[in-house]
Subunit: 408 residues, 2 copies
C-alpha cells in the first residue's frame, strides 16, 4: 500500500503568498475599478540584454540545422559555460577553481532546495530567521527537522537576525552540521561584511560544518567592504558551497539558469577526498539532465564582456528603483534597511503595527501590496519587505501612493 | 560535523557508460585514424521542427521587450501549455483530466527520479529488470533499498522481463507499494498491450500500490493494440502517475521539457483526497521553479497541429532508422526485438556471447559502439541495445560495418 512521505506532511502550508492574494482579491472585489500597485514580489520586469537574447536566438537557429544540432549536454553544464564561470570567479573574486567545482543548474531555488539531499537525514541544520522559506521547507521535507510547533520547527536551529545587530545572524552557540546563509539577504537586504562572515567560516571549520551560501543577489553589491563570494574569504573552500543565479542580474527568472560551486576541498565526517563534490555530481547526474541548452547559451553570453555590461545596466535600474523607494519612505519617517547593495527594502512598520496590520493599511489606503515580514520568520514581525522589481513608472506611482496615505 | 547521506553511498558507481567510454578510448588509442560509429546512445540528432523553433525565437523576442517580458511563471507550468496537454490527452487518448493533474517539468528524467521523494522511505519498490538505471538509482538514493549485493540491491523487488515472455514483466508476487514501468521500454523496445498492462492496474488497485508509468517513447507507437497512455485503461486514474517528455518526439533532449500527470483520484494509505497530487505540487513548488519559459513556448507549439506534424516527421525518421537496423541485422541472422513502435533494437548476442564480449567484437571488427544489455540489469545479459538516434547516413554505414564484420 503506497504511503506518502511523512516529512512532507510536516510542512506547514505555504501561508504567506496565498494569504496575500486572498486579502488582495477580497479588497479588489469590494473596491472595483481601483488599480493596485505591487511592491510585493521579487520578480524581474525588465527585458533581456540584447547580446544575451541574440545568443539564445543563435542557439535556437543552431538547433534548427541538423549539422549544428546538439542533444543531451553534460548534466554538470556546458563546458564553455563552466569555463566562463571559472574565469568569472578568477576575474571578479581572485579565486581559481577547476571546472569540476562548478555545476550548472536550472536555478538557485532548485539547488538551494536539492543540496540538502546529499547530507545525512540526521544533520542538524541552522537557518537565519527571517529567511527565504525554501531553506526551512527543504530541510523539513528531507527529514532533517521535527514537527511544526505552531511557530517554528523543532530540531531546526534558528539564527536570529535582529534590528539591533544589522539583521546579520551570528554563528550558532550549539553544534550544527549545515548552515544556510543568504547575502545580500532576502528579505532584509542585509549584506555580510568580511568580518561578520568570517565568524561563520571559523565556526564551520572548527565544527566541520558546511555553509550553504546563497549569493543570488551578489551583483547588487556595489559598495566596498562587503563580500560578494564567500570564497573571497580564507578557509571558505574547506566549508562552503556557494549557490548563484542568472535570475536577478540577467533577468532569467523565467529563462531559468543558475549554478553551484562545490569544492573538492570541503571537509566533513566522511574523510574520502572530495566526497561532497562526488555526491552532488551523483545527485545531478541521476536526478537532473542539465539546464536548457538555450538558457545556457544565454548564460555564456551574460558572462562575456558585453553581457556583463548589460547585466550591470539591469542591476543599476533595479538599484535605482530601490533607492527611490528607500529615500521616499525615509522622507516620510519610515525606518528602512537594505535598499542599497540589495533589491529589497526592509521597512519597519510605524506606530508598532504588526506586519499584517501595516500590509492591510497600505492595501486599503495606498492600494499597494507589500510582503509582510512575519511571513519569513518570527524576527520578521513588525517589518514589511518592499521589492524594487518593477517598471520605474509603477514604482514611482506606488511610492507616491504610500506617501499620500502616510501623510493623510 | 557534516555527514553525507548514507543512502547515496550505497549507490554502485555508474559503471556502464564510463566503461563503454574507457574501452572505446583504449581501442581508438591503439587504432589511430579509424572512424568509430555509434549506435550506443539514445541522443537525438535531427533538427527542431520549424514551427517549434519559431515559437521559441518569438518567445526570446518577447523577453527582449519590456512590454512583453515575463519573469517567474507558475512552477506547475504555463497555463497555456497545460491546456494544450489536457487537450492532447482528450484528443489522442479520449481522457479528460483537469489542468491541475498536469505538472510541466524540465524533463522525464527529473520527474522519474524526483517522484520517489513524495513517498515514504519505507516503501517497497518494484522495478523491471532490465530497465533505465534512474529508477533503481533514485530508489536507492532516496533510502528505499538495502545495500548493493554485487548484483542487485537488497529490498528492491525486481520484475523479470524475459525473452520467452516478450520482455514484458508480470506484476510482483509479493506486495509492493510503488511500481516503475516503462513502455515502449528502454532498453528492450518491448511495448505493453492493453491486456498485459491491465494486469498491473488490477494488481495496483488491489494492493493500493502506485504505478509510475514512464511513457517517454509513446509517440513511437504506430501499430494498433498497444497502450500509449496508461489512462486509456480502466482504473489507471486510481493508481498511476504518467511521465512523458518532449525529448524524443520534438528533439528536446537538450532543450529540456517534460510533464507528469498526477491524478487527484490516486488511492493510497493516507485517505486525504488528492494527497499525492498535493504533495507533488508541494514538491514542485518548493524544489523547482518551473521549466524554462522558452522551452515551454516550444512545447506549446509542439502540441499544436503543425508542431504535431513536425514531431511525427521526426519520429518517422528515427523509426525508419530503427527499421533499417533491425532488418539488416535480421538479414545476417541476428535475433532482434523492439525496433518497431520503439527507437531501440534489442539484439541477442550470437553464439552465446556475453553482452560485453559482443560489444568488444563489434568495436574491434565493425568499429561500432553499442550498449551492452547487462548494464541495464541481470536479464539484459546476452543482449545489446542499438539506438536509432543518428543521421541516416551514419546509421547505414554502421549497419554495413556490422554486416561486414559478421559475414567475415
Amino acid at each position: 500500500m503506497a504511503r506518502v512521505n511523512e516529512n512532507f506532511l510536516k510542512l506547514a502550508s505555504g501561508y504567506l503568498f496565498p494569504e496575500i492574494n486572498r486579502r488582495k482579491n477580497e479588497w479588489a472585489k469590494n473596491n472595483p475599478g481601483i488599480s493596485i500597485y505591487s511592491l510585493g514580489i521579487g520578480n524581474t520586469t525588465e527585458e533581456l540584454g540584447p547580446s544575451i537574447a541574440s545568443a539564445m536566438i543563435e542557439k535556437v537557429n543552431k538547433l534548427s540545422n541538423r549539422n549544428t544540432y546538439t542533444g543531451y549536454g553534460d548534466e554538470q553544464g556546458d563546458a564553455e559555460l563552466r569555463r566562463e564561470l571559472a574565469s568569472f570567479y578568477e576575474k571578479e573574486y581572485g579565486v581559481s577553481f577547476p571546472l569540476d567545482y562548478f555545476f550548472v543548474s536550472d536555478g538557485a531555488k532548485s539547488d538551494a532546495a536539492n543540496i540538502s539531499e546529499i547530507f545525512s537525514q540526521s544533520s542538524v541544520v541552522a537557518i537565519t530567521d527571517p529567511a527565504y522559506p525554501v531553506y526551512v521547507d527543504s530541510t523539513v521535507a528531507s527529514g532533517k527537522s521535527g514537527n511544526f510547533n505552531g511557530n517554528s520547527y523543532d530540531g531546526i536551529v534558528y539564527m536570529d537576525a535582529r534590528e539591533d545587530d544589522g539583521f546579520l545572524p551570528r554563528p550558532p552557540k550549539v553544534k550544527v552540521d549545515l548552515i544556510y546563509l543568504c547575502s545580500p539577504n532576502n528579505p532584509t537586504g542585509a549584506v555580510f561584511t568580511a568580518e561578520r562572515l568570517q565568524e561563520f567560516i571559523d565556526y564551520a571549520i572548527e565544527n566541520k560544518a558546511i555553509i550553504i551560501f546563497d549569493a543570488a543577489y551578489s551583483d547588487y553589491i556595489r559598495d566596498e567592504g562587503f563580500v560578494r563570494s564567500i570564497y573571497q574569504l580564507d578557509g571558505a573552500e574547506k566549508c562552503a558551497i556557494e549557490i548563484n543565479s542568472f535570475s536577478k542580474n540577467a533577468g532569467f527568472t523565467g529563462v531559468r539558469l543558475g549554478w553551484s560551486v562545490v569544492p573538492k576541498t570541503l571537509v566533513c565526517e566522511n574523510e574520502e577526498e572530495g566526497v561532497v563534490n562526488r555526491l552532488w555530481n551523483r545527485r545531478q547526474t541521476t536526478f537532473f539532465n542539465g539546464a536548457s541548452n538555450i538558457s545556457q547559451a544565454g548564460g555564456i553570453a551574460a558572462l562575456k564582456q558585453e553581457g556583463r555590461r548589460e547585466c550591470r545596466r539591469l542591476v543599476d535600474y533595479y538599484l535605482e528603483n530601490a533607492r527611490i523607494i528607500k529615500t521616499n519612505l525615509e522622507d516620510i519617517g519610515l525606518k528602512c534597511y537594505g535598499g542599497a547593495n540589495s533589491p529589497y527594502i526592509w521597512a519597519k512598520c510605524p506606530n508598532g503595527l504588526s506586519s499584517w496590520d501595516f500590509f492591510d493599511f497600505l492595501l486599503a489606503k495606498a492600494h499597494v501590496i507589500v510582503t509582510p515580514g512575519s511571513g519569513f520568520g518570527k524576527n520578521g514581525e513588525g517589518f514589511v519587505r518592499l521589492s524594487s522589481y518593477g517598471h520605474r513608472e509603477d514604482i514611482i506611482q506606488a511610492v507616491n501612493a504610500i506617501k499620500g496615505a502616510m501623510n493623510e
